[in-house]
Amino acid sequence: MARVYNWQLGREMSYWYPESRASKQFAAVFDINKCIACQTCTLACKTTWTSGKGQEYMLWNNVESKPYGFYPLAWDLKLLEMLDGQKWNEGGEKPVYEGSTIFESAPAGERVMGWRPEDEDYAYPNVGEDDCAGGVDGGANIFETHDMAWFYYLARICNHCTYPGCLASCPRGSIYKRPEDGIVLVDQGRCRGYQECVRGCPYKKVFFNMMTGTSEKCIACYPKMEQGIQPQCFVNCIGKIRMAGFINPPDKANPENPIDYLVHVKKVALPLFPQFGLEPNVYYIPPIHVPTSFTKQMFGPGVDAAVKTYREAAANKDDDLTGLLGLFGSSEMLMERWKRVGDKIIGLDAAGKQIVDVPLKEPVVERPAFDKLYQITRTNCP
């Protein structure tokens, strides 16, 4: 095992291979507060990539309702149970993870600590996760607010981790991370279907295809990314919760890069289970209505500050932050740079060419009930 630096943990850690960062690292920010769980992302991915034989239950993109939804079943709980105390030292300048990662907890004979879901664990995506746990008797009503009167939608794709568990687990080197964009791929010509990657990915985002006998995963729509276009699940997102781009390590953070700005400068977007140790590259703006005692375990110690910044952005007239969030979903092109000019937010490509601009505030348009042009009274549907 080599020693590598994981900035999300604030420390070095052990990893199967030495540190070698991609020259650009694919990354994304998902604003959980805007997700409506319409599953358009899931379908966009499914129809594009996983409509074949053996991919029936494979969802490279899925949306689950937390805390009771999982795909596959209990994917996070199983590993959280296996992992030690997951303690963070928050006394210093920045939090340092004092627990063990999946690499540091690898039992004898294993490359990482992991587990393999069985077919039944994949069989019921989203079924029952928003339902009442029991029957409601006639005349029953709720007198008080339930302690857990919250839930949120967690949209998930492969995190194209800086230190992928899948890649470390493969004894054949069939998984590789592209040096040019950090996208993690399974070489379909080399994979022999040992399912070690399925076992080793804590996010359970590699899937075994029983009809090809190989493991398959999210490819970050690399043919689109190579053309400067965001992946399918991003451009089809109805809630406009997603922005794809590239992230720099914190010491090289560039505020003109929208991902860097949200992750490193504003610190409103946080990694998913950073304590696993993979330096995952999909960052989440945590749900602001959920007790942070819950979200802290999922997104790390930055949750309180992130929620505060996001909540107060409008009141504090943080036009940069609120404006940048308006850029999400405004173009299918990759916006590697951004800037605000007055009340306009501009998305630019890597060369600095403008792609799109959005207003800081959408103008309010009032439509009179009586349409003079057509001499008709229009009413809004209830």
Binding site: G52, G109, R111, E118, Q195, M210
Partner: protein, 282 residues
């Protein structure tokens, strides 16, 4: 009356089938009986007089992931040759038949490994080493099931599955098998690359070469054939391939065996393997 019948039945069962041989006298080497007619039938009488080598299996514990808990202790090996081909009959105990692929499901299998070149300086027994490659013939239970007629369809694995639609079943492609095949391939990149881990195949055996752990690759020749059948206590598999280059009475070689029990989550490096044993032509 009933008990007499039962005893008679047991007697018949003991008398039949390769799994219930008399106590085995193991030869220290694998002795290839020459001048025989090659067969893929594990129950053929040609095997009856052929000496048995009991290959002691040990856990693969050199590279991660290792097999931490032992399973198959020994494998019975017999070998015959007709002067061109060599056939191995391999039998081992395995009380579950694991041939249905799926998540967290692994396949029963067995492999025969030979040094690519006969040389006193033999390659490392664990998959060879750089510059000293090994040739491997690998049989797998799921491939056998496919060769024996299992359909290349999800319902052959999950009989109650009802996929609503596949793009290759789209109406406009209905009368165009080529377009259908192309559409199917688009969603099966491994098949498009010729990496037939599952799906239609004509042989349950695969030819491989390796120069050390993690380097396993398709061999230059697809010359191995095989057939595996369930015995009452496990598997009996016959694997045939050409005689190793330069192998003769005067010039013996080495051989090693590996076996995987699917029900024990054995796959890839998680296997029971042997060291080199002498392979002698008799």
């Amino acid at each position: 009356m009933k008990s007499t019948l039962l005893i008679a039945l047991i007697a018949v069962m003991i008398g039949a089938g390769p799994a219930c041989r008399r106590a085995i006298v193991s030869t220290p080497d694998v002795q290839v009986v020459s001048g025989q007619t090659i067969t893929l039938d594990a129950n053929a009488s040609v095997w009856n007089p052929v000496p048995v080598h009991l290959s002691k299996q040990i856990q693969q514990d050199l590279v991660e992931p290792r097999l931490m808990e032992a399973s198959t202790q020994e494998v019975q090996i017999q070998a015959i040759s007709d002067g061109n081909l060599i056939a191995f009959r391999i039998e081992w105990l395995d009380d579950t038949q694991d041939d249905l692929p799926g998540p967290a499901r692994f396949m029963d299998g067995v492999a025969v490994q030979l040094p690519a070149k006969i040389d006193p300086n033999v390659p490392a027994p664990q998959m060879g080493e750089t510059g000293k490659s090994v040739e491997i013939s690998y049989w797998r239970a799921d491939w056998q099931a496919v060769v024996d007629g299992r359909a290349d369809d999800i319902t052959s694995i999950y009989p109650n599955a009802k996929p609503d639609h596949y793009p290759f079943n789209a109406k406009p492609l209905e009368n165009n098998p080529d377009a259908q095949a192309q559409a199917a391939q688009r969603y099966s990149p491994a098949r498009a690359l010729g990496n037939g881990r599952e799906g239609p195949r004509t042989e349950p055996v695969e030819d491989l070469i390796a120069e050390g752990p993690g380097t396993l690759a398709p061999g230059p020749n697809a010359f191995s054939k095989g057939k595996g059948v369930r015995t009452r206590t496990g598997w009996a598999v016959v694997i045939t391939r050409p005689l190793p280059a330069g192998f003769s009475k005067e010039s013996p070689s080495q051989i090693a065996f590996a076996v995987w029990q699917g029900s024990h989550d054995e796959t890839g490096a998680r296997k029971m393997r042997s060291g080199w044993v002498n392979l002698l032509m008799k």
